[in-house]
């Protein structure tokens, strides 16, 4: 496991909305100005965000850090509109302020000399953009497999194209890229790679099927697998013990916010 405590202690501060986009229907792309996340946020980390004064809804919402730009004090979130909190965020205007706690969770460590693959679906794509970018910058090959039911749900496609060495797309209805399952696409691609350029680790997010697939790959000894987990969160900082997920073989619980959010795929129960 990674260290239990994020190397950079979180702050509780304010951020200002600089730009909002609804490029993909049902998704919100927020560019935020702040001095903390833009500077200290690392791949794999997330933030807790509240953009309303009311206590109904009361809790902040967790989102992954998609991009940071410390030179301009900017960072990006990509948010799927699913309920009241994300709807409220979607109704904010440029210039509105957000309360932000972060950066939270343990950064993903990038190993130089070890290529990685990313297998993501839906808004799970948001989790890995920053990781892809950093890994590529570190000189690592990043093979990304982005999947969605249909073209218009290929969230973060452009960010991932930019950030990956190689972006491969699969849609269930064939409206873009490979017509079918991204797992097949990934297997086909990896087979074609020379042994020394094969990915040493695969990260997955956004689909239980993908997680089980990655778990199998690891069990077969093909790669190490990692999964981005989600859980209901109240605090995001390890105070409430609310975000528990089962350890493998029911040997207790991890806290997603403190022990994760990225876990070795075979350390947790993927029920």
């Amino acid at each position: 496991m990674k260290p239990k405590i994020s190397p950079i202690k979180p702050f509780y501060s304010e951020g200002r909305i600089i730009e909002q986009k609804n490029e993909y229907a049902g998704y919100l792309d927020l560019l935020i100005e702040d001095k903390v996340i833009s500077r200290y946020g690392k791949p794999g980390q997330f933030v807790m965000v509240k953009g309303w004064h009311s206590n109904d809804p009361i809790l902040a919402r967790p989102f992954d850090i998609v991009q940071t730009d410390s030179a301009n004090n900017l960072f990006r979130l990509v948010i799927k509109i699913t309920g009241r909190g994300t709807e409220l965020l979607n109704s904010l205007k440029t210039g509105d302020m957000l309360k932000i706690t972060g950066p939270l969770g343990n950064p993903v460590k990038i190993k130089v000399n070890e290529n990685i693959a990313l297998l993501v679906r839906g808004v799970g794509a948001a989790s890995v953009v920053y990781l892809a970018e950093s890994a590529k910058k570190a000189g690592v090959n990043v093979y990304t497999f982005l999947s969605a039911s249909t073209k218009s749900r290929l969230v973060c496609r452009d960010y991932l194209r930019e950030a990956s060495t190689d972006l491969n797309i699969a849609t269930d209805d064939g409206s873009e890229g490979f017509h079918g399952d991204a797992r097949d696409l990934l297997e086909q691609h990896i087979k074609k790679l020379k042994p020394d350029s094969k990915p040493g680790r695969i990260y997955t997010c956004g689909s239980k099927r993908f997680a089980r697939f990655v778990s199998d790959l690891e069990r077969k000894g093909l790669t190490k697998g990692y999964v981005f987990l989600e859980s209901y969160m109240a605090c995001g900082i390890g105070d409430c013990h609310g975000c528990a997920v089962k350890k493998k073989n029911n040997t207790g619980y991890f806290l997603v916010c403190k022990d994760g959010p990225v876990f070795p795929v075979n350390s947790v129960e993927l029920d």
Partner: protein, 302 residues
């Protein structure tokens, strides 16, 4: 000049604000946002003798102006706590309140003894009221049991004790009176209210443990009444807990009769809230020409 000191059972707190048990991890990430040495006291999450894993997820759920939790008190157990965490807590230079619980009276007495042996705890808080334990709430519901357990613990430890009571009773003021007569040095009111949410998609209880405890601003008016109705009946101090989200809520608690206040789930919503509460109380006292928090206690009665 305002002096924020308050006295709880002979222990001096430099201000009346502390976290409610289970809502602030001293050794975790929160202390970079709000450092524990600014608190009136540190209060631990409830400790048991043996380690516990806690309840199965989902453990929390948002509700209107509040949340349900069915955490179920995961704990490292008293040995690890004493070795790894208590020394750290004692190092903050503020009084240490250790919250304890057990399955039997003997457990409570034993853990009280173990804690006393360290010489590092200033107060013990008895969690007699956790709705997420099998019989957690029963201690605070049954008059005879409540009397007996407090009496026994008092006999087996010299550390002053705070009895944390449940609001899910006929009349909490009577239970507080019993706690006092059994020797409690203070009472903490209130723990969470038993509540639940049902997932109408799955037609099943939402929480892994079926029901949980409700806390947050939603219950603040109930907590204020619990304190108000208890204040005139007892002469030991009250630690007022329940739904505090701002200094104003804390002032209400003090005016109702609390000597000190505990901030619970709002720490999750605004990790800087306890600092804001301390400052707000200070300003309120200064603006209204009070010298210290003690001058406010129970004023709404008069």
């Amino acid at each position: 000049m305002v002096n924020l000191n308050v006295d709880i059972a002979g222990v001096t707190l430099k201000n009346p604000v502390m976290p409610a048990s289970g809502t602030y991890e001293y050794t975790g990430m929160h202390n970079s946002i709000f450092p524990p040495d600014k608190l009136g006291a540190v209060v631990t999450k409830t400790i048991f003798i043996e380690p516990r894993e806690g309840n199965k997820p989902p453990r929390i759920c948002e509700t209107p102006c509040g949340m349900l939790n069915s955490i179920g008190i995961p704990t490292e157990g008293v040995d690890s706590f004493i070795k790894n965490n208590l020394p750290l807590l004692a190092g903050y230079g503020v009084p240490v309140i250790v919250s304890i619980a057990g399955d039997t009276i003997e457990d409570f007495c034993e853990i009280a003894n173990i804690i006393e042996g360290t010489g590092k705890a200033d107060l013990l808080e008895l969690n007699l009221s956790c709705p997420n334990l099998n019989h957690g709430i029963e201690w605070a519901r049954n008059k005879k049991q409540l009397y007996r357990i407090i009496k026994k613990i008092k006999e087996s430890t010299h550390i002053p004790i705070i009895a944390k009571l449940s609001p899910s009773v006929d009349d909490i003021s009577e239970m507080a009176l019993i706690a006092e007569s059994a020797g409690a040095n203070a009472v903490a009111l209130i723990n969470t209210y038993k509540g639940m949410k049902i997932d109408i998609g799955k037609r099943r209880p939402f929480l892994g443990n079926t029901a949980g405890g409700l806390s947050g601003p939603a219950v603040h008016p109930l907590a204020v009444y619990a304190i108000f109705s208890t204040f005139k009946k007892i002469s030991i101090p009250i630690v007022g807990i329940g739904g505090i989200a701002s200094w104003k809520d804390a002032i209400e608690m003090i005016l109702a009769g609390s000597a000190a206040v505990g901030v619970g789930m709002y720490n999750f919503v605004n990790p800087a809230v306890m600092g804001e509460v301390i400052e707000g109380i200070e300003h309120y006292l200064a603006e209204n020409n009070f010298d210290c928090p003690a001058d406010l206690i129970g004023l709404a009665h008069f």
